[in-house]
């Protein structure tokens, strides 16, 4: 096999892995959109916030240390040597649930029956708020996250593929980050768990009922507000997983929240209401943008990953306005 073909294959594999990472964020969007019709822009910031909180607990930072120091002139930063990763994850999840509960109590319950655009804007406001809140609570410096996941290139794959190239050509084997493989595995587990949850548990049935019709769900005695808290907690959980994955990959910093922007084209490609759509859309976008950068990107100045996903999704929408797996849009006058 020629090295060019092998390189392309490597690019496709890496694209698939990147796509899975995008899907992780897109999943959170789909969950909330299905259950409440809210297009949650804050999903990316929620991932950042979850990651910040996790690192904060792990390293034993004092929350709001910066603010307290500025107000009282003290010099505090850590309260100890930190805690066990597992405990920190549990505590972070509790924080995310409290957050979901507060959000419902303070904001969302007033927003029933508002236009979708207003709800969308609310989540953008929420994104700003959480970004400021996260920075204020844990500081804005770049943090490294270590939850014990392996990282670095896979030596095994490199050795395995080294012999594939034709005789006499230089080829050093494929490079794939082990962390990405882990992320893919975790994403698959997550999707299976979410599907099982929504298909076979009582709460899951209630979630689907709310997604179908708010009023009908209310009439059969499902509490809309409880469901919303559950949904936002679930989205917080997905955000935590995405935050751990992205945080381990590229550090916990502001740019983590920008992955939400990467998840948007995935969403419109796959359709807002479909969990499989989020996965397939992610894979298409991941492979598409990596291949485009590999084949054409170099010729037109590089860094095409910034916009290619959007243009691909846009071109796609021209033929299928509801996305790949979205429900058909029926309009009545």
């Amino acid at each position: 096999m020629s090295p060019l073909f092998l390189n392309a294959l490597e690019v496709i594999l890496n694209g698939l892995m990147a796509g899975i990472m995008y899907s992780l964020v897109a999943l959170g969007f789909v969950l909330i959109f299905k259950a409440s019709g809210i297009f949650n822009y804050a999903q990316g910031v929620m991932a950042l916030f979850a990651a910040l909180t996790l690192v904060g607990f792990q390293t034993g930072q004092v929350p709001f240390a910066h603010l307290i120091n500025a107000m009282f002139g003290t010099e505090i930063h850590h309260w100890g040597s930190g805690m066990n990763t597992f405990l920190a994850i549990i505590l972070t999840m509790i924080v995310m649930i409290i957050f979901a509960w507060l959000l419902e109590k303070i904001v969302l319950k007033h927003m029933v029956n508002q236009a979708p655009i207003i709800l969308f804007m609310t989540t953008i406001g929420l994104a700003y708020f959480m970004e400021g809140f996260g920075d204020l609570m844990w500081g804005a410096d770049i943090k490294t996250m270590d939850v014990g996941l392996p990282s670095g290139g896979s030596i095994w794959l490199e050795d395995f593929t080294k012999g594939w190239a034709a005789e006499g050509t230089e080829y050093y084997g494929m490079y794939i980050d082990v962390l990405d493989v882990w992320a893919a595995g975790i994403a698959i587990l997550l999707v299976i768990a979410l599907t099982l949850f929504s298909q076979y548990t009582k709460t899951g049935r209630a979630l689907r009922a709310v997604a179908d019709d708010h009023q009908a769900a209310l009439t059969v005695g499902i509490s809309l507000r409880t469901i919303w808290i559950i949904v936002w907690s679930l989205a917080g959980f997905v955000a935590l997983v995405a935050g751990i994955m992205w945080g381990s990959k590229s550090g916990v910093q502001f740019s983590l929240s920008l992955i939400a922007l990467k998840a948007l084209p995935v969403l419109i490609l796959g359709g807002f209401t479909s969990i499989p759509g989020a996965i397939i859309g992610g894979l298409i976008i991941g492979v598409g943008e990596k291949l485009f950068e590999f084949s054409i990107g170099g010729m037109i100045g590089g860094a095409t990953e910034n916009w290619f996903a959007y243009v691909l999704a846009l071109a796609f929408l021209m033929f299928r306005p509801q996305g790949l797996f979205g429900e058909k849009i029926i309009e009545r006058v």
Partner: protein
């Protein structure tokens, strides 16, 4: 008691259909304009110009543009930053290519170029609606910024990749460039914004504006009663991009002086303008101004209080500001989803009845 329309008799159609039919409204606008044009320029200093007045005017222009598209025509756009960049770069290229051209026309031409680009990026709106369209407009945002970063022709092959506004004049007075006096840049922006705000007001009251509003309410129904969606949507994109392009040209040429696309016209600027429109009030010209004033003044005020009065570190203040703005946006959407303009409308209703309760 004092604010009322009764007793304000109109004897011909021209009177009845003027921009501000109520006498007191009209007087208030004239007094405000007279104050802005004839009093402020004598007292303006560099601080007020650079951190309050000129940014307010520039962002009002952008908010007006987006309000036409989103508020009146109902097409949500997140590509404002990209279109402002188009305005800024066409302004730059025109300034360099025609050194003798009056800067007023440079800004208008930059707006026209942006309008053409806006029509091109508005084409998907005929097929894609709602959130799908909002996300699709992000394509224009990212693609345009990338293009201005990567194609050297746009920044005239300068080594830093930045564009810097040369000095250009109007009636012999420098408007752009480092030596432009405060009052001149202020008056320049004020004139443009005043002219085009009046134009927007009348455009949205007329036939085109009604077509936009009907598309906003329900595009299929609008099509059935005979409004061509192609013309209505694309004209909204064109007019909106024209305004946004002019504001981008003013932001770069008059206010910033030099710009780098990712920094000055990034996605956060698109959101900023959208916030202005929502907080000010969708579908209201006054709202665009109120929203812009709110989002320009609050950060300045907060910074002054926290850094100036309390002596807190600047990064802490920036985080608090972010938190506060986010909370304010949510607060506004919960309390008054129709924005500041609606508050003003309610105040007027109250004023009409005052001092009687019913």
């Amino acid at each position: 008691m004092f604010y009322r329309e009764s007793g304000d008799f109109k004897t011909n159609y021209a009177d009845d259909q003027q921009s501000f039919p109520i006498k007191l409204d009209r007087y208030a606008v004239w007094i405000l304009l007279a104050f802005a044009f004839f009093v402020v320029p004598f007292f303006i200093n560099d601080y007020w110009e650079k951190s309050v007045l000129v940014p307010f005017l520039v962002w009002s222009m952008a908010a007006l543009g987006l309000n036409i598209l989103t508020g009146y025509c109902g097409q949500v756009s997140l590509g404002t930053g990209g279109f402002m960049a188009v305005g800024a770069y066409s302004c730059y290229k025109l300034m360099v290519a025609f050194p003798g051209l009056n800067i007023f026309f440079v800004v208008i031409l930059a707006g026209l170029i942006t309008a053409v680009v806006g029509i091109a990026f508005g084409l998907p709106s005929l097929r894609i609606k709602g959130f799908y369209l909002a996300v699709a407009t992000l394509a224009s945002q990212f693609f345009l910024i990338w293009m201005f970063n990567k194609i050297p022709w746009f920044y005239n092959y300068s080594s830093s990749g930045m564009i810097t506004a040369p000095e250009r004049t109007m009636f012999g007075i420098a408007i752009s460039g480092p030596s432009a006096p405060s009052w001149a840049t202020y008056l320049f922006c004020l004139t443009l914004v005043t002219i085009f705000a009046f134009m927007a007001r009348n455009l949205t009251r007329g036939r085109i504006g009604r077509a936009w509003k009907s598309i906003h309410d329900m595009d299929i129904a609008a099509e059935i009663i005979g409004i061509p969606p192609l013309q209505a949507k694309l004209s909204a994109f064109a007019v909106s991009s024209f305004y946004i392009g002019m504001s981008g040209a003013m932001l770069f040429g008059v206010y910033l002086g030099s710009a780098e696309p990712g920094e000055a016209f990034g996605i956060d600027k698109s959101f900023l303008v959208l916030f202005m429109v929502i907080i000010g009030g969708l579908g209201s010209i006054l709202g665009s101004f109120l929203g812009a004033a709110f989002l320009i003044l609050v950060p300045v005020l907060m910074k002054n209080i926290m850094v100036g009065a309390f002596g807190w570190p600047a990064d802490l203040a920036a985080h608090l500001e972010l938190l506060f703005i986010g909370a304010l946006i949510m607060f506004f959407l919960v309390v008054e989803p129709h924005g500041l303009a609606q508050l003003w409308r309610m105040t007027k209703e109250k004023l009409r009845l005052w001092p009687f309760p019913h």
